[in-house]
């Protein structure tokens, strides 16, 4: 595991995604259309808990959709090529970082679209700095957990359906704490209350990365 190698792999990811722009487009389209469907159902939401819960559920499904592809598109040829070139730990770290950044950006975009359609009044009294941090950390957290799960599901050869089954119970604890933290931030509570939740979320993120780093080599070799 070398930083140069990881940087190289990250560049490779970026170039591949740029070549097939529809990947980005489909992610954004998925989020926007989900939000639009919700908008048709509920119009504007003014109740903070409901607004908060709906946002995180949308983001969760967006994460499943975006990350489901993460290892699916790997055809055997390219995987074999990567396998001979790079160490598996570099591959998983690069992929995790890439997915984390993608989800961090995607969660902010989702928040924008969500506020536009469903209404932004619950954010009026919020501590915006904490709330945005929780949204980004939460989105990144989903990405980190689901990266390994996505690889696992792809290896089991049973696509997105299996990924939902495997990923949901593992993401659930994170979802519960992230919902709680963001609700506290929306209520306008400061660091003294939300701080421990944010720390806890960052802790899970770190543990997840360490686990992925430790376990991925066993998944990668065949």
């Amino acid at each position: 595991m070398r930083t140069a190698e990881i940087a190289h792999l990250l560049k490779l990811e970026w170039q591949l995604d740029r070549r097939q722009k529809h990947a980005w487009g489909s992610m954004a389209l998925y989020v926007v259309s989900t939000i639009y469907v919700c908008y048709q159902g509920v119009r504007h939401l003014f109740d903070i808990p409901t607004w908060n819960a709906l946002f995180w559920i949308i983001l969760l499904f967006a994460a499943f959709n975006a990350l489901g592809r993460s290892f699916q598109r790997e055809n055997t040829g390219r995987q074999l090529y990567l396998y001979t070139l790079a160490s598996p730990r570099s591959v998983v770290l690069a992929r995790t970082i890439y997915n984390g950044v993608t989800m961090g950006v995607l969660s902010l975009l989702s928040l924008g679209a969500y506020a536009l359609f469903i209404g932004s009044s619950p954010m009026n009294d919020a501590r915006l700095d904490i709330f945005l941090l929780v949204v980004v950390v939460g989105g990144i957290g989903f990405a980190l957990v689901l990266t390994l799960i996505s690889a696992l599901a792809a290896r089991a050869g049973n696509g997105v359906g299996l990924m939902a089954i495997l990923g949901f119970p593992i993401v659930l604890p994170m979802l519960l704490s992230v919902m709680k933290a963001s609700k506290l931030a929306l209520d306008g509570l400061g660091w003294d209350v939300t701080g421990k939740y944010v720390l806890w979320l960052i802790l899970i993120d770190l543990i997840t990365v360490v686990l992925a780093w430790l376990l991925f080599p066993y998944l990668w070799r065949d």
């Binding site: 949901f168 119970p169 593992i170």
Partner: protein, 339 residues
Amino acid sequence: MKGWWWKLLSVVLLLYVVIVGLGTPLGPALVHVSIDRIAPGPVSLEATGYNTHFAENTPDVWLENDGQRLCATEVKALSDVQLSATFIVPEGFRTNLTSLWAWDPQDGTIVLREAFFTEGLGTGIAEDSCLISDAPRAGFSFPNRSILNETIRNLFFHVPMWFTMMVLMTIAFWQSLVVLRTGDLAADSKALSAVDVSLLFAALGLITGSFWARATWGDWWTTDPKLNGAAVTVLIYAAYLILRGSVPDPHKRARLAAIYNIFAYVLMMVFIMVLPRLTDSLHPGSGGNPAFNQYDLDSSLRAVFYPAVSGWILLGVWAYTLHQRTARLRSIYDEANDR
């Protein structure tokens, strides 16, 4: 049969738990009083006890409000569990919640906290000079807590289910590590056995917890962090079984299942350890709940609780070895068939 002693030990421990856990009487308590508010002037009331012995020695009865005591002017025992008492309530109690106390040599001091809403508040009453004994009672019994009452015995049949489940999941985790290190299919079969049996104990824990919750918290299911943890745990291991079902190749199945198990186990442990500390829980150890506190598990409960935990864990491990031996036999026959 080698190594039979711990199986015998588990049976002996559980026998002890059933006999002592169900046979020990609950300590005496006041459970009900006929009126729920008192005002200055003469007040007479009837109080109901549980496992009390009012008829043998008429108890002393008094009220207490913010540390100030008021003794009954007249006490009559109607039966072992029923007494009537009369008070002349003066004006001037400091707070609006008054508790009812009683003492007799056989039952010791018993109390019904916050029994009355109090009217005619002031800056305090003239202290009574009545003599009150608070000599403790003798004898072995379980504490009689309000709301919990007899269900405190469930401590020996509900909580150890989770301990056993955790031990079995830890075995599965360990075997999964072995699978990744050596690629040994036997270890994979052991992990599967441990998960299978741990799900039995998880189911028992959920169902028994449901009954207990209904009797104490008034609902079959609550959104308590401990319950969320239990639900997540069951979902994770159900997913583990589904993952196994969807991979046909045994070596690949063993490896993928082991990776998922390790990943899920570590995250679950972190979740179970940390999250209840972040949020309020109805379960022991958090503020404002009607259950008992971890730290006031008194010695009589401990004398049964620890044997119960060890007995159930041993039984769980025993069930796991039986499951494992059956699985091994089956794989032997499968191999013989293939040949």
